[in-house]
């Protein structure tokens, strides 16, 4: 497949200012976006792909998507190659459009080097000095938010709306620990009980110490290739079947809903592309920064109905060989590994092991032909990026 003739540039806008003391960098990005949309005759909600580079302040593409309220974005790319980034982005956008990953892609660049002699840092400046960092920074970073307490807010709201209990959340940790006992490299290898989880010390309520993932050094890597090269190698073949992605954030604060994650959008895209349903998934790697992360994502991916995650995860339903949906058979982030506070790659790695039949015999899922890996990055309590990947073992 080639991008040749598969995509068109329909909007282009150059900001008229050359000296912008009265506008923030996020504002300039948004004004450029507005100008390009008007040039094209499109509206903001037509945008389903967003591309930006290192000049976009904040957390990858998440901060600008949230600032602009790009609620329909389903494809994101913040590849950074300096001044050439935006040409790469057109190429990447054309690829995404050719593949059907998005239909209307927005690429923005903006900045104010004349106002910020040292560049933007994002933190508080010297007393009385203006900064030009992430748009949400001044309004949010002052309140002591961390992953623990922002995910705590999600758990608190989930309990309020659906009656989810700490004991139900604890079953997620219990299942992970049952798997970790067989992983010689796991950071925590001891099997724990529901009682131990709910009696561990409170970190940020309602999340206890044992509701939280481990902090570990380390890392991982993946290699993705063509069908032809895959066939030429002497390894079991793990085929990529579908992928979906989505941002989620408060986007203006209207109808805030902390009980669902971006998986409600990324999941159906991945399932649709793969042509399978949650019932077809034999093994699932589910991002487990906290127990609540797993519960919300399982609901959002459609493994159970919204609000029924507590019942779904209870009584060992996530334990390999015991329950209906074996998850995180390496012990997950809750027990095994969460290298550099980014657990996404280990989610793919364990799914590959399962599909190859190379997981530990005590946790290997029999006839594991279709697996799912899902990740959440950032915070479910503020803004995050969600990604779903579905893979199949090819005989």
């Amino acid at each position: 497949m080639s991008i040749k003739g598969k995509a068109y540039i329909v909007g282009a806008y150059e900001h008229p200012l050359r000296d912008a003391p009265d506008k923030s960098t996020p504002q300039l990005h948004a004004e450029c976006a507005k100008g390009a949309l008007e040039d094209a005759g499109l509206s903001k909600d037509d945008i389903d792909g967003y591309f930006c580079a290192g000049d976009a302040p904040g957390f990858g593409a998440m901060s600008m998507i949230d600032y602009m309220g790009l609620r329909n974005v389903r494809h994101m790319d913040s590849t950074e190659t300096g001044g050439s980034s935006y040409l790469l982005h057109v190429g990447h956008a054309a690829q995404a459009i050719a593949e059907g990953k998005c239909k209307v892609a927005l690429v923005t660049l903006a900045g104010r080097p004349r106002q910020n002699k040292g560049g933007w840092g994002g933190g508080a400046g010297k007393p009385g000095q203006l900064t030009d960092g992430p748009p949400e920074a001044g309004y949010e970073n002052i309140y002591g938010g961390s992953t623990h307490n922002t995910y705590g807010m999600c758990a608190m709201r989930h309990m309020h709306e659906y009656g989810t209990t700490s004991e139900q959340l604890a079953w997620i940790k219990v299942a992970a620990s049952h798997h970790a006992q067989y992983n010689p490299n796991a950071f925590l290898k001891d099997v724990v009980t529901v009682e131990q989880v709910v009696n561990s010390r409170m970190i940020s309520d309602p999340l206890h110490l044992l509701d939280c993932c481990v902090v570990t050094d380390g890392g991982g890597a993946l290699i993705v290739t063509t069908p032809e090269i895959a066939r030429s190698l002497n390894r079991p073949k793990v085929k990529v079947m579908g992928a979906g992605e989505s941002p989620k954030g408060p986007m203006g604060g209207r109808n805030l809903d902390l009980t669902h994650s971006g998986a409600v959008w990324s999941g159906p895209i991945a399932f649709g592309e793969a042509g399978v349903t949650p019932a077809d998934i034999k093994y699932a790697s589910i991002y487990d920064s906290f127990t609540i992360t797993v519960l919300m994502q399982l609901e959002d991916l459609g493994f159970c109905k919204k609000g029924e995650g507590g019942k779904f995860v209870a009584d060992g339903n996530l334990i390999s060989g015991v329950g209906k949906l074996p998850f995180n058979t390496d012990g997950g982030g809750l027990c095994n590994n969460h290298p550099t506070n980014r657990g996404g790659i280990t989610k793919v790695i364990e799914a590959v092991r399962q599909l190859r039949g190379e997981a530990h015999p005590k946790v290997q899922v029999p006839n594991c032909d279709i697996a799912l890996a899902h990740g959440t990055g950032g915070s479910l309590g503020t803004r995050h990026g969600a990604a779903t990947l579905i893979m199949e073992r090819e005989a």
Partner: protein, 138 residues
């Protein structure tokens, strides 16, 4: 021993000076005067938070500052227990105008918060910066 001594102390937290940008400066100038501002779009009529130059709903650049009484209810919260300076509460308030605001809750004990509780804005001083909005039980 009196009841007062038995009850957990009200939460307080030193809050650092906020990062102020050219776009957010009017908000922090008003905060210095004890006024809580939000933004409203004159094109679609919707209020939003945090304040932006362009409306995050309809993308109009016709947004205006509006003084808010800062009244609302707690959407959710979490009390951070692992803090060297003592427990503190983070959470979202759903303002009467509609938008949800991330904040800290003050003048309340760690076990004194609940979802749906009525709260009202107040301003807490920061070192070397403008005062910042926090919320206390109304």
């Amino acid at each position: 021993m009196s009841d007062v001594q038995d009850r957990p102390a009200n939460m307080t937290r030193n809050i650092p000076a906020p990062a102020v940008t050219i776009e957010s400066k009017p908000f922090w100038d008003a905060a210095t005067e004890g006024r809580f501002l939000i933004k409203r779009c004159t094109a679609c009529g919707e209020a939003h938070w945090y304040p932006r130059a362009l409306c995050p709903f309809c993308f109009s650049d016709e947004t205006v500052w509006e003084e808010s009484p800062g009244e609302g209810v707690i959407y959710s919260y979490s009390v951070m227990q692992r803090s060297p300076s003592g427990p503190y509460a983070i959470g979202y308030v759903t303002l009467k105008e509609g938008p949800a605001v991330l904040t800290n809750f003050v003048d309340v004990a760690p076990d004194g918060l609940s979802i749906g509780q009525k709260v009202k804005v107040k301003f807490q001083p920061t070192e070397n910066g403008p005062p910042v909005p926090v919320f206390a039980p109304a």
